[in-house]
């Protein structure tokens, strides 16, 4: 008897057990189930939710791998132990040493994110007696990519529990949530543990630790790990050039730095029709428009160099796309179909407003110089409203047709 038959008879034997969803979740990962159609269409297309989610994960894997190398690269670069890589294929970037830091610092984030999140999902599935739905597969991958590399694991675990339970399960689980769960987790971390989520110390591995050692009297240089946005917000000069920003050789959250890989991921998502090109493009348009407006304000001389907003406002509009996480947010976060607008027209409006508001928050909120996740969460809340008005357009057309007839 092969594995297939053994698992099948095990499933049949235990079909009344409460824990069966947990077994099924694992079983269906190994084998696509033997379910057949009944009533309705007799044939079905090849895609299921697992395949869809898996496609998004595939698009994220390059970002994760890059993030692991970058964790080490930023660490050693800040310590002054290596030279700047100067380009995507730079010799000092793709090294075993860098990867080891990544394995040591980033992989645990992935493990904790998946371990805790899936545990919560399994518990809820068993309590409520439904199958384990696949929503967390993508969330679990996104979470480690949008947090600072040195975030303590227990904080991450607490945030994941909060995000999955309050952000998703209380609404009824996958497909029912209003807010993007990954961003809910980030928002929780951001407001509960702000010192670990912003500032100029958290983005490079070892910086916080080094600070503590200095405070205890060690004779060492502090590591600076300021992000580009941080520098602009302080009206400081930026030490990185555009290519560093594009390739991703800069400090930031784990997986969001490489614009190059995010663009590749975006192309893959658009090509596979899993990600909405409407949302991605309209978000970028929104960001550019807001950037242009701010540039216009600076050009008109309404705001002087002494203003605290000057640094970010004077950033040429197109550069907003390669600094911060607007690109990552547009490609992987705003496109979450459950929390985004669901109508095609609505997607244009929803995306545009995300980009627009992101840059607005970025500029006007220098205390936390990144607004992408707040903008997406805000628009998550308004997505149903946008859809409502789009759908009303269709309803009105129908009403009008009736009126013309009866008039």
């Amino acid at each position: 008897m092969g594995l297939k038959e053994k698992l099948h008879s095990f499933k049949v034997k235990n079909k009344d057990k409460k824990w069966l969803p947990a077994f099924s979740a694992l079983h269906t990962f190994l084998f696509m189930p033997n379910e057949t159609t009944h009533g309705g269409t007799h044939i079905k297309a090849a895609d299921d939710l697992k395949r869809t989610m898996n496609t998004v994960i595939l698009a994220l894997v390059p970002c994760l791998i890059f993030g692991m190398f970058n964790a080490g690269y930023q660490h050693y670069l800040a310590l002054g132990e290596i030279e700047s890589a100067k380009g995507f294929l730079g010799a000092s970037f793709w090294t075993i040493d860098n990867l080891m830091v990544g394995i040591w610092q980033v992989l645990p984030l992935v493990v904790v994110s998946y371990g805790v999140g899936l545990a919560v999902e399994f518990i809820f599935a068993i309590i409520k007696g439904h199958e384990v739905e696949e929503g967390y597969l993508v969330t679990g991958m996104l979470v480690p990519l949008i947090v600072p590399v040195d975030i303590p694991l227990w904080m991450l675990a607490v945030a994941v529990v909060f995000g999955v339970v309050i952000g998703k399960e209380v609404f009824g689980g996958t497909g029912m949530n209003i807010l993007n769960p990954a961003l809910t987790i980030r928002a929780f971390l951001f407001f509960a543990y702000p010192t670990w989520m912003s500032g100029d110390k958290v983005w490079v591995h070892g910086a916080v630790e080094r600070d503590q050692m200095i405070a205890e009297g060690a004779n060492l240089d502090a590591i600076s790990g300021e992000t580009i946005l941080g520098s602009y917000a302080q009206n400081n000069s930026v030490v990185y050039d555009y290519w560093d920003m594009f390739w991703g050789l800069i400090p930031g959250s784990v997986g969001e730095t490489s614009k190059f890989l995010i663009i590749i991921g975006a192309l893959f998502l658009i090509f596979s029709k899993v990600g909405s090109w409407r949302i991605i493009i309209s978000t970028l348009i929104g960001a550019l428009v807001m950037g242009l407006i701010f540039n216009g304000v600076v050009d008109a001389g309404w705001i002087g160099e002494s203003s605290k907003f000057y640094g970010l406002m004077s950033v040429p509009f197109w550069q907003h796309l390669i600094i911060g996480s607007i690109l990552f947010g547009a490609v992987y976060m705003a496109t979450d179909p459950v929390t985004a607008s669901q109508t095609n027209k609505g997607k244009w409006i929803y995306g545009f407003l995300i980009g627009f508001i992101s840059i607005m928050i970025r500029v006007f909120n220098p205390a936390y110089p990144e607004g992408v996740f707040l903008a997406i969460l805000l628009m998550n809340v308004f997505a149903p409203t946008i859809d409502h008005y789009v759908v009303q357009g269709n309803v009105k057309k129908r009403m009008k047709r009736l009126k013309v007839k009866t008039a």
């Binding site: 057949t36 309705g40 299921d48 496609t55 179909p337 759908v391």
Partner: protein
């Protein structure tokens, strides 16, 4: 005047086992079955009992809520069994056919001279009425309501559908009689859709408004035709008649006999030699499917109708009252190792998520009945819109049906749709939701609450 209808949204599902254009005469079935279930929403009241002798075209039961609507026997013979289910619901009325067929005589009917009332009474009395369906609600038409238009689709775009240009060949006289009659029953026009590049026998008829249809499935669905020509508004009714049923209507008007004969396509990848058969409504499918068809003990799904909205039947089952195709495809009751993640070349998909059917749009596929995944909540968006040509928001209307908000269902266009319009969205649904069932239940709820 010819008005072209061209749709872009949709999906042609190309399957193996299309019927070759040769027609065999099926072995005459010994038993015929009428299933009240085929007539959605009808509560049957029996006229005949077990042992009653009936002629072909003689009423067997009528609709309790609409006593004029009679359902007639397709053959002459004896009612030998009436099987009932829970709450004594009538499931099947089985008739043993006589060796020599006798017909109930209705006499030749002069359509041109008759008043609409007389024509309507004739159609009701002769058992032709069940062929006329209505929208809203996709049920048998209510005789007392005048439709604003009548729609007929002469273009079969569904996967492995019977080619209507072929099956209707040589039936021009019957078709003409039927559409002339229907034209008297509506205040509007009789709209007929035919394939753009096809030579349909329907194209030459008089008294119709012809529309040349092109584009992927569901371009041949009558629902698409209605939506693009004259959508149903609140309070309005349209009627639809399947093209193959026009032949039976026309023949009865011309000859006075209810001839239940119909050309049926036997198709599907499990069929050795897919081809056409001449048979009768309600025949045993066993008279057709084994001769150069499916293996006796094959693990196959037999469908009376097409793969998108036909009914699953047993090998000893009977042809549905309305279907003109029998499809046989393999069952998919097996596990597939890493089926959810491995690249897929042998299944159809509208995405490109490691699914490669986009590489080869002309290829014919051998799909089985596996669901390719489990039932989930609605997650992805925009997928349905790609295959849904009607000016309606499919996901929103499905959700409105699920939470049973009658006002919203009405506002979003429930009066315009039938379950079959949602067959393609159901096919591509990543969450494997039963769209047609959701719409059917929504329509039933509206019928009950609003009427």
């Amino acid at each position: 005047m010819s008005n072209d209808i061209r749709i872009k949204k949709g999906l042609d599902i190309k399957l193996k086992g299309e019927a070759k254009k040769t027609t065999d005469t099926a072995v005459l079935s010994n038993f015929f079955v009428l299933r009240p279930e085929d007539f959605h929403g009808v509560i049957p009241k029996l006229i005949s009992k077990v042992g009653t002798k009936v002629k072909a075209g003689e009423p067997v039961f009528y609709d309790k809520s609409n006593e004029d609507v009679k359902f007639v026997s397709p053959v002459s013979g004896e009612v030998i069994e009436i099987s009932r289910g829970a709450k004594r619901k009538i499931l099947e009325i089985k008739i043993q056919a006589d060796k020599a067929q006798t017909y109930q005589e209705h006499g030749k009917f002069d359509v041109d001279a008759a008043t609409p009332e007389a024509l309507k009474a004739h159609l009701l009395a002769s058992g032709l009425w069940p062929f006329i369906k209505q929208r809203p609600y996709d049920v048998i038409a209510k005789p007392d309501k005048m439709p604003k238009a009548i729609f007929i689709s002469g273009y079969a775009s569904a996967p492995l559908a019977a080619d209507l240009d072929y099956t209707l060949q040589g039936k021009e006289a019957e078709l003409q009689a039927a559409v002339s009659a229907l034209g008297k029953l509506t205040e509007g026009q009789v709209h007929v859709g035919v394939g753009k590049n096809a030579s349909s026998p329907l194209a030459g008829l008089s008294g119709i408004t012809l529309h040349k249809v092109s584009g992927p499935h569901p371009s041949g669905n009558v629902g698409t035709l209605i939506n693009k020509i004259d959508p149903v508004n609140k309070g309005e009714t349209v009627w639809t008649v399947a093209a193959q049923d026009l032949v039976i209507i026309g023949e009865l008007l011309l000859t006075g006999k209810f001839n239940a004969e119909r050309i049926v396509a036997l198709t599907g990848s499990e069929v050795k030699s897919p081809r056409y058969f001449v048979t009768k409504l309600g025949s045993e499918v066993a008279t057709m499917i084994y001769d150069n068809g499916v293996e006796k003990d094959a693990n196959a799904r037999i469908i009376s109708g097409n793969v998108l909205n036909g009914k699953e039947i047993k090998p000893d089952g009977y042809l549905d009252y309305y279907s003109n195709v029998i499809t046989i495809i393999p069952e998919g009751d097996d596990y597939e190792l890493f089926g959810w993640t491995k690249p897929v070349f042998n299944k159809i998909s509208t995405s490109r998520a490691l699914t490669f059917s986009w590489l080869n749009p002309k290829k014919e596929y051998d799909l089985n009945t596996n669901t390719n995944g489990e039932h989930r909540a609605f997650v992805t968006t925009g997928t349905y819109e790609e295959v849904f040509p009607l000016d309606i928001y499919p996901m929103q209307i499905l959700k409105a049906c699920m939470y049973q908000d009658l006002d919203e269902m009405e506002a979003l266009g429930m009066y315009e749709v039938a379950p079959e319009d949602f067959a393609l969205t159901e096919f591509v649904c990543v969450s494997k939701q039963p769209h047609q069932k959701i719409i059917r239940e929504g329509l039933d709820l509206m019928l009950k609450e609003i009427g």
